[in-house]
C-alpha cells in the first residue's frame, strides 16, 4: 500500500526556506490547498460563536459605521465643519465611506487578531498557518456582505439608483479587503512579538482615514487633494463608491494599479509570514 501512496517526507533544518524558492513555492501551494477546509471550519466556528452570544447578532456589524456617520452628519449639519458639496446626499456619502472604511479596517486587523486568538493552537498543533489568515478573510467577507446589504437598503430609501455597474461593487470590496489584508499581514509578525504595533495601529488608521476621502469628498485642486491622490487607498474608496451609486469612477487605472500593487505586496508578506511563524511561536511561548 505504501508503494502506491508514498508517505510525504517533511524535513526540518536550520536553512532558510527562501534559500530554496522552488520547494518553498511548492509548500506554499500545498499549504494553501490544505487550508481550504480548515479555514472554512474556523470561519464558521468564529462567526457562529460570535453571533450566538450576541443578542443584536448581525446588527453589530453596523453599529460603528452608523455611529460614525451620525457624528459626521451632525457636525456638518450644525455648521461646525464645512465639508463642501457632495454629489450624493451627505449622510449617504458618509455612510458609504465609513462602511467601506470599516471593511478595510477589519481586513487590516483580522490577521493579527486571528493569529493572536489562535496562539494556543499555533503553539501546540502543526497545521497550515495560512488557515488562520484565510479564516479571517472569510469573516471579513461575511461582515462586508451584511454591510453591503444594508447600504443597498439605504440607497433605495434615499432614492439613489445604481446602474449596471453595481455588479462591479464586489470587485471594489474585494480590492479593499485585499489591500487591508496585505497591510495587516505585513504587520502581523512584528505585531506578535511587540505589542506596540497593536497599540499604535488604531491611531495610525485613524490618521490614514483622514487622508482618504471617507467623510469628505475629493476636491479638484489644493494641497490636500494632492495628498489624497498620493494615497493608494483613495481610488479604492472612490471607485467603489461610484460603482455603488451609479456614478462614473474617475480613477479606474489607478484603481487597477493599486490592486496589482496589493497583490504583489500580499504575496511578499505571505512569504514573510510563513518564514516568521516558527520564530514567533518559539518566542511567544518561551
Amino acid at each position: 500500500m505504501n508503494q502506491q501512496n508514498p508517505l510525504p517526507v517533511t524535513i526540518y533544518t536550520p536553512e532558510s526556506a527562501i534559500a530554496n524558492p522552488g520547494r518553498m513555492l511548492r509548500d506554499m501551494v500545498h499549504d494553501l490547498r490544505m487550508s481550504r477546509e480548515l479555514s472554512w471550519r474556523l470561519a464558521v466556528r468564529d462567526i457562529s460563536a460570535q453571533y450566538r452570544q450576541a443578542m443584536l447578532g448581525f446588527l453589530w456589524a453596523l453599529v460603528l459605521p452608523v455611529a460614525n456617520t451620525a457624528v459626521w452628519v451632525f457636525l456638518s449639519a450644525s455648521g461646525i465643519l464645512a465639508v463642501g458639496a457632495t454629489e450624493l446626499p451627505y449622510p449617504v456619502f458618509v455612510l458609504i465611506g465609513t462602511m467601506l472604511w470599516a471593511i478595510f479596517m477589519e481586513a487590516v486587523t483580522a490577521p493579527m487578531q486571528g493569529v493572536s486568538a489562535a496562539r494556543d493552537m499555533l503553539a501546540k498543533i502543526n497545521f497550515p498557518r495560512e488557515a488562520i489568515v484565510i479564516a479571517g478573510i472569510y469573516q471579513v467577507l461575511f461582515n462586508a456582505a451584511i454591510k453591503l446589504a444594508i447600504l443597498l437598503v439605504v440607497l433605495f430609501i434615499f432614492g439613489i439608483a445604481p446602474d449596471w455597474r453595481i455588479v462591479l461593487v464586489p470587485f471594489g470590496v474585494a480590492s479593499l479587503i485585499l489591500a487591508g489584508t496585505a497591510i495587516g499581514l505585513f504587520l502581523t509578525p512584528i505585531g506578535l512579538l511587540y505589542t506596540d504595533i497593536g497599540k499604535g495601529l488604531p491611531i495610525l488608521m485613524q490618521f490614514l482615514m483622514y487622508l482618504t476621502p471617507v467623510v469628505y469628498p475629493l476636491r479638484g485642486e489644493g494641497r490636500l487633494s494632492t495628498l489624497l491622490l498620493l494615497n493608494p487607498l483613495t481610488p479604492l474608496i472612490e471607485t467603489t463608491r461610484a460603482w455603488l451609486t451609479g456614478g462614473t469612477p474617475q480613477w479606474l487605472l489607478y484603481f487597477l494599479a493599486t490592486n496589482v500593487l496589493a497583490i504583489v505586496v500580499l504575496l511578499a508578506v505571505w512569504i514573510v509570514y510563513r518564514l516568521a511563524m516558527p520564530i514567533i511561536i518559539e518566542r511567544m511561548s518561551s
Binding site: 526540518y12 471550519r41 474556523l42 460563536a49
Partner: protein, 408 residues
C-alpha cells in the same frame, strides 16, 4: 512495514533567558530568515542564551516506541515541538515521513460556546483530518468520548473530564504514522484511562511513537528504547531498563542523613548489617546493636521503607500484653527479618522505630539509617504491609560504639 519514519541528527535548539533579548533575537532571526540566511547563524550562543537541546539524534521505525525521559526542563517538550515542526532547529536535521499526530494539546481550538459536535469538526480539522474522514469517524468519536446526549450541548457546560474525553477521542481518531505522546494519559478517570491505553496500544503497532512520561511503569511497558535527556543532552539512548536506571540515579540526591531519636534508657545504637541491594520479593536482614542503660519494655516495633520522604511500606511487630519483651542493662543485638519485600524497583530508605507496650512512649526511632536498592520489576508505589520476624540476643562480646545524637 519496517520503514524508518523519524530520523533526527544532531538536533540542537537554543533558548534565551531574558524576555527582552528573546524578542530582539526573534526580530533579528526574522530578518536573517528573510535574507535567506541560516536559522541560528553558525550555531553559536548569543548573550543570555543556552542550549535547550544539544546534538540529539535518533532513528525510529514504524512499530517502535521511544520513551523520552528526563527531569522537567531537560528538553523533552522542546524536542517534541521540534519533531512536530512547531519550531525549527538551530542545528541539525529532522526528517519525518508520513502524517504526524500529537496527543499533546487535547481539545485545542475548542470553542466553549459551540456544541461538542461542532467542536469535533473544528478540532479534527485542525488536527489534519479531511471532511471525508471526519464524517466517517464522527460516530466513533462520539461513542468513544462517552459524552452521550451532551454532544449537542455547548462545550462550556461540560465537566473538565468530559472535555478531556472529547479531546482525546478526536485526537486519537487520527491515524498517524508518527505519534507524539506527552503524558496525557495521566488524566481522566480510571475507566477511561484504560480505554485510552487500549487505543494507544492499537496506534503503537502501526506508527513510530515518541512517548514522554515520568511513569516508569508506563515507559517500561510501552517503550522499546529510551532517550534520557539531561539539560538538553542525551545521556542515554538505548535499552529502556538502562535508561530508567540512569534516570533514577540522576534523580536521586545523596541519601538523607540518618536521624536517631531515643529516650534516656538507650545510650548507644549501631547498625550492624544491611545489604546494599536485594531482589524483589527477597528478605531484608537488619541487625541493630543497642546499649541499654536502664531496663526497657519493648512493645511495638516498626520497620518503614520510604522513598523521597514518602512511606512506601512498613512492617510491624506487636508484642501483645504479656508478650512484651524486657531488655535489661547491657548490649543487645536486635535482628529483624523483613520480607518478602514486594516493593517496586528503586532505592528505599529504611527506618526502625521501637515503642513501649502502650505504644505511646518512644524508646527509639532510627530514621533513614540505611538505604537499600530493590532490584526487580517496576511497580506502582502503593503502600503495603510487609511480614517481619524479630529476635533479640544479649551481646557481650562486641561493644556498641556509636554515640547517640539525641534529638529532643
Amino acid at each position: 512495514m519496517n520503514d524508518m519514519l523519524i530520523k533526527a541528527e544532531g538536533v540542537s535548539k537554543r533558548f534565551c533567558r531574558s524576555l527582552k533579548k528573546s524578542l530582539w533575537y526573534g526580530t533579528q532571526d526574522l530578518c536573517s530568515e528573510i535574507a535567506g540566511r541560516r536559522h541560528g547563524g553558525h550555531g553559536q550562543l548569543r548573550e543570555d542564551e543556552f542550549w535547550a537541546l544539544q546534538d540529539v539524534g535518533f532513528e525510529l521505525r514504524r512499530g517502535e516506541c521511544l520513551g523520552l525521559i528526563g527531569r522537567n526542563g531537560a528538553g523533552k517538550t522542546t524536542l517534541l515541538r521540534l519533531l512536530n515542526g512547531l519550531i525549527r532547529p538551530d542545528r541539525g536535521r529532522i526528517e519525518i515521513r508520513g502524517r504526524v499526530g500529537a496527543l499533546i494539546a487535547l481539545g485545542a481550538g475548542f470553542n466553549p460556546i459551540l456544541t461538542g459536535r461542532e467542536n469535533i469538526h473544528v478540532n479534527a480539522s485542525v488536527l489534519g483530518l479531511s471532511r471525508h474522514e471526519i464524517d466517517r469517524k464522527l460516530d466513533g468519536i462520539i461513542d468513544f468520548s462517552e459524552i452521550g446526549d451532551f454532544i449537542d450541548t455547548p462545550v462550556q457546560n461540560y465537566s473538565s473530564g468530559m472535555q478531556l474525553r472529547l479531546g482525546f477521542a478526536v485526537a486519537s481518531a487520527l491515524e498517524p504514522d508518527v505519534l507524539l505522546l506527552d503524558e496525557v494519559l495521566a488524566v481522566g478517570d480510571a475507566g477511561f484511562r484504560t480505554k485510552c491505553f487500549k487505543r494507544i496500544g492499537e496506534v503503537l503497532q502501526n506508527a513510530a511513537v515518541i512517548f514522554v512520561s515520568h511513569s516508569e511503569a508506563q515507559v517500561s511497558r510501552i517503550c522499546d528504547s529510551t532517550l534520557l535527556l539531561e539539560s538538553g543532552v542525551a545521556k542515554h539512548h538505548g535499552s529502556t531498563s538502562d535508561g530508567l536506571r540512569l534516570y533514577r540515579e540522576s534523580q536521586q540526591g545523596p541519601a538523607p542523613p540518618p536521624r536517631i531519636v531515643a529516650d534516656a534508657s538507650v545510650s548507644a545504637l549501631e547498625l550492624h548489617h544491611v545489604p546494599e541491594s536485594m531482589p524483589w520479593g527477597g528478605m531484608l536482614e537488619i541487625e541493630l546493636a543497642v546499649k541499654i542503660s536502664r531496663p526497657i519494655m519493648l512493645g511495638l516495633i516498626f520497620v518503614h521503607f520510604s522513598r523521597d520522604g514518602e512511606y512506601q511500606a512498613n512492617a510491624e511487630v506487636r508484642l501483645e500484653s504479656g508478650g512484651a519483651m524486657q531488655l535489661g542493662d547491657g548490649n543487645h543485638i536486635l535482628t529483624f527479618s523483613v520480607g518478602p519485600v514486594h516493593l517496586g524497583r528503586g532505592r528505599y530508605q529504611v527506618s526502625v522505630s521501637i515503642f513501649d507496650a502502650s505504644g505511646k512512649t518512644t524508646i527509639f526511632q532510627a530514621l533513614d539509617i540505611a538505604s537499600v536498592d530493590v532490584v526487580g520489576p517496576a511497580t506502582g508505589g502503593v503502600p503495603h504491609l510487609v511480614p517481619i520476624a524479630f529476635q533479640v540476643r544479649q551481646d557481650v562480646a562486641s561493644p556498641v560504639r556509636t554515640r547517640l545524637t539525641l534529638d529532643t
